[in-house]
């Protein structure tokens, strides 16, 4: 069993090898039992399969087996125009489609070298934070459910529905919103909608208090999560952990702070960091992040300016529906954008945003034609899953469920 390395920079090659999970191992101890768990298991968040080597009830090693939800989105991206790929980004992490929409369109905008309007950036900030809250609510609800508490699940899904009503109102769909557009958004937010968001912000802190009253000091919950599944900050960095799970190991890294995008540098908010690196710390970080997200949304609502929401660039942005009725140019642009797409410059960009689950990056290679030559999706869940083995080693079999839950992975995001 690997001891925590004291400093990543001194991590010798031998230590690095100890962190790798894929190596097939044989044991001198014949008592080691290899057990399969999943892919059809209610507490593996979809179709995750893990192969466990057990010494009694202790986990000696865990190997994730993935790919059951692989749908080849990166290959699909090579056959679609840039606009056409937006709906596919909804389905990567289907619990936070707004964030994935945003990450993708911002990457294409970076390639094109265009800036969105001020109002659009504020709206995107609001929606990304709403996505974060809805994703963390699902974490809270399912994590508690897996540990045997059914009430949090009901509480969580009750409140997530409020967010989904707001998504439905602005985008037309609860789940797969496809709301962002390259150069703007699908439809401007109305004042009523903004008032609805504010109403949610006024309501939700009370719900969060309820959540915390149910779990934060709950003795059973503490026994199941406190000091379980520990990982040190150095190991987490070496294994490529990101997002709330990394911040729970004492690494103060959040892309919203380190590489601010949208308006995150204009807003006052704090990064949630915990030092323990166990399941409980990962829970605490997410609970605090929800409160910070509310704080961000409130400030955004105060500052959303009036004005155009989409850029005035008919070569990239689809024209408004009303214009098609009387404008010849709009019709031509619409026809060209839909049938052919736009021609970006040749080049390559990588853009990362802080999605609810960690660093979400899109690496886009363009050969100057209307279809991406290559699109790589750096999915946070895929990378975070690598830490699972380290967290589970030495833990009890029953704790594996708690640790998988605390890592908050989504299989659509893992397999893409």
């Amino acid at each position: 069993m690997a001891e925590p390395a004291s400093d990543i920079l001194d991590l010798a090659d031998g230590d690095a090898a100890a962190l790798i999970t894929t190596v097939e191992r044989t044991y001198d101890n014949l008592e080691i039992l290899r057990v399969n768990m999943g892919p059809q298991h209610p507490s593996t968040h979809g179709v995750l399969r893990v192969v466990l080597d057990l010494d009694g009830e202790r986990v000696v090693r865990l190997r994730p087996v993935i790919g059951y939800l692989h749908s080849g989105k990166e290959k699909i991206a090579e056959t679609k125009t840039y606009h056409q790929f937006i709906p596919y980004t909804d389905r990567i992490d289907y619990l936070a489609p707004m964030a994935y929409n945003t990450g993708y369109v911002m990457t294409v905008e970076k390639l094109l070298g265009i800036e969105v309007t001020e109002r659009c950036a504020w709206l995107r900030t609001i929606l990304c934070e709403m996505a974060r809250i809805s994703s963390h609510i699902v974490f809270y609800a399912t994590h508690a459910l897996e540990l045997g508490a059914t009430s949090p699940f009901m509480y969580g899904f009750r409140d997530r529905e409020l967010l989904y009503d707001l998504f439905e109102e602005i985008a037309g769909a609860r789940f797969t919103v496809s709301y962002m557009r390259i150069g703007g958004v699908r439809r401007d937010a109305t004042d009523d909608w903004l008032a609805g968001v504010r109403k949610f912000c006024d309501y939700f802190p009370r719900a969060l208090d309820e959540y915390e009253a149910l779990l934060t000091q709950n003795e059973i919950f503490l026994q199941r999560t406190w000091n379980i599944g520990r990982i040190s900050g150095d190991e987490a960095i070496a294994l490529g952990l990101s997002g709330p799970s990394l911040r729970a190991s004492g690494v103060a890294w959040d892309i919203r702070k380190s590489h601010p995008y949208l308006w995150y540098d204009q807003i006052e908010w704090n990064m949630a960091v915990e030092d323990a690196g166990d399941c409980y710390a990962r829970y605490l970080v997410r609970m605090r992040e929800m409160r910070e997200s509310l704080r961000i949304i409130r400030q955004c609502l105060d500052r959303v300016p009036k004005g155009p929401v989409n850029i005035d660039n008919p070569k990239v942005m689809l024209p408004r529906r009303e214009e098609l009725r009387h404008s010849m140019e709009a019709l031509i642009h619409h026809f060209l954008l839909v049938s052919e797409g736009f021609w970006p410059p040749a080049g390559e960009v990588y853009h990362a945003i802080e999605a609810p689950k960690g660093e979400l990056g899109f690496y886009l290679v363009s050969d100057g034609t209307p279809k991406a030559y290559r699109l790589k999706i750096r999915a946070p869940s895929f990378c975070n899953l690598q830490s699972l083995d380290r967290m589970c080693r030495g833990a009890l079999l029953a704790d594996v469920v708690a640790i998988i839950g605390s890592l908050d992975i989504v299989m659509g995001d893992v397999d893409r």
Binding site: I8, L9, D13, A16, A17, L19, I20, T21, T22, V23, E24, I66, G67, H70, G72, E74, K75, I76, E78, T79, K110, L111, G113, I237, A238, L239, G240, V251, W253, S258, H259, G347, E348, V349, Y350, A352, E359, G361, Y363, V365, D367, Y373, R374, K376, R378, F382, C383, L385, Q386, D415, R416
Partner: protein, 185 residues
Amino acid sequence: MATLDTIERLVRERFGAGVEETACFRGELTVRVSPDAIVEVARFLRDHPALRFNYLSDLTAVDYLHLGRAVRFDVVYHLLSLEYYHRLRVKVAVPELPGRTPSVVAVWPAADAHEREVFDMFGIVFDGHPALERILMPDDWEGHPLRKDFPIGGARSFYFKRDSQPWAGEPAGLVPRIRLNDSDV
């Protein structure tokens, strides 16, 4: 945060001819290094006190078959320093044959799953990887889906049969199947 110029200068000073090309596009620095040097470069980038690229954000590959390049693949590393918050893209060219490049798992353990994915999708072999197996596709899959000459509809049609062979494939064309776009096949 070291500026892109500083990063470029430090890498060039240390490796000289090992750096084949540098490019800057949209504020992102790309350094192309010679394939033999990659592990050494990786360790230098991770350990240099002014660079400290201790976090491997992403590792992937690009197939340049349709762009008429002499060397078919690029393996692309996206690095990040959690100390200085600067980013860097490192590239290595990998010819189709023999299609091998050294593994950086020993430098960044996070490369483990990424290198398996690149092997799975492109068929590039990473020398020194502890267990290079398919990760997303089934173990008995033929071909590498993200290669440009792999058809979008799949090279074979797969369906489940009731006989002893549960996972049987037949050559494409015998079974009706949906093609997205003939020009893409």
